[in-house]
Amino acid sequence: MKRCLILLLLLTGACMPRTDQSSVKEPADCLIDIGPCSKMAGSSEILFDITPKPVTAMHELRFTLRPGMDITAESLTADLSMPGMYMGINEVSLQRTAEGTYSGTGIIPRCPRGHKLWKASITIPGHGTVSYLFNVNK
């Protein structure tokens, strides 16, 4: 009976990830294909953008952060993740430019199951972490 249960667990439980993206209620809070996305950190606006548009998986993309406050850090890191599904460690290094923006290139992988929702989280020293939820085209 125990073995029967083990097999049934493998056949049913293993078929579905514990937190499938369909069960994640967070909707995209950012229409990245339209233009930059805005989030507030205190009273400062932080703009985040990805180019070229439409933002497509499996292609090299440029990630840009335009903070509305003075930041001294030479670089920031954008942590890319998929809500509800572990997709590995995918970090994009954003280097400070002469204009005070932060920019770097990276790739968003395609999910073979067709999920499109991604999250970019950027920690800004002294101002906390800002996150942007957006959909990516196949």
């Binding site: 083990i6 097999l7 049934l8 056949l11 499996m58 572990y86 590995g88 790739i107």
Partner: protein, 238 residues
């Protein structure tokens, strides 16, 4: 990039963690499906098919990782293997459906003897039957290595992220050869990280398969066919 580089440990950890949270859900059913079909080879060789399967997977990962490292480009290599990945996924799906059908005793997929073959099987069906027979009845360890190598081509989001890291490691290396080695070792570490969970799933599924086969024969065959159909669907929509 030295072998002591923390990036190798990081990607191993990513594979280990991803193996539990991602691979067990995505590839686990596939591994469980072929493992259920394993013949009982005795305790001393119990892990051999699973080890060979994982070695095959690691071989494919390492070769593709090496190529990504050599070129320093993820999208270049990923773009060129994307079509092949979908074909592989569809082919695995078809094989699983046929395997499930053979387990259910579908007569056209059973190789009986020369006389019955001549009666009911066309040349095409005979070829299919040989493939099914090779996969389901073989005791050749090399077959599991080949199955592992083939499934290593399957598209997977977690794998893509690891390939991005391999391409990055290659791009940062000084020469082409160093880039190839950096990419290859990155993917080897990633694959090793994913191995424990898939090894465990495979071993649990093949545990006393004769006992399971007697009781859950039809369920496991239908399960295999369902997973096969899902693979074909995914390959079509990708």
């Amino acid at each position: 990039m030295s072998i002591n580089d923390p990036a190798y440990l990081l990607i191993f950890g990513s594979g280990l963690f991803g193996g539990l949270g991602h691979c067990s859900g995505m590839c686990g059913p596939l591994v469980a499906a072929w493992s259920v079909n394993l013949k009982d080879t005795g305790r001393s060789y119990a892990y051999l098919p699973h080890l060979l399967y994982n070695a095959g997977r690691l071989t494919t990962y390492s070769i593709i990782g090496g190529l990504m490292g050599l070129t320093g480009s993820f999208s270049g290599i990923a773009g060129s293997i994307e079509g092949m990945q979908n074909i592989t996924m569809a082919a695995i799906g078809i094989i699983m459906i046929l395997l499930g059908a053979a387990n259910l005793g579908y007569p056209f997929l059973k190789r009986k003897n020369a006389a019955s073959r001549a009666e009911i099987l066309s040349k095409f069906m005979d070829a299919v039957a040989r493939i099914i027979s090779f996969i389901s009845e073989t005791h050749t360890p090399g077959a599991f290595y080949v199955i592992g190598m083939t499934t290593g081509f399957m598209p997977c989001g977690l794998l893509y992220t690891a390939y991005i890291a391999a391409a990055g490691a290659g791009a940062a290396a000084g020469t082409g050869l160093q880039g190839f080695l950096a990419g290859m070792i990155m993917m080897l570490f990633f694959g090793l990280g994913t191995t424990p969970s898939l090894l465990l799933i495979g071993r649990l599924a093949s545990l006393r398969t004769e006992w399971i086969r007697r009781r859950l024969y039809i369920i496991s065959a239908l399960f295999m066919m369902t997973i096969g159909a899902v693979q074909i669907y995914r390959s079509a929509v990708n």
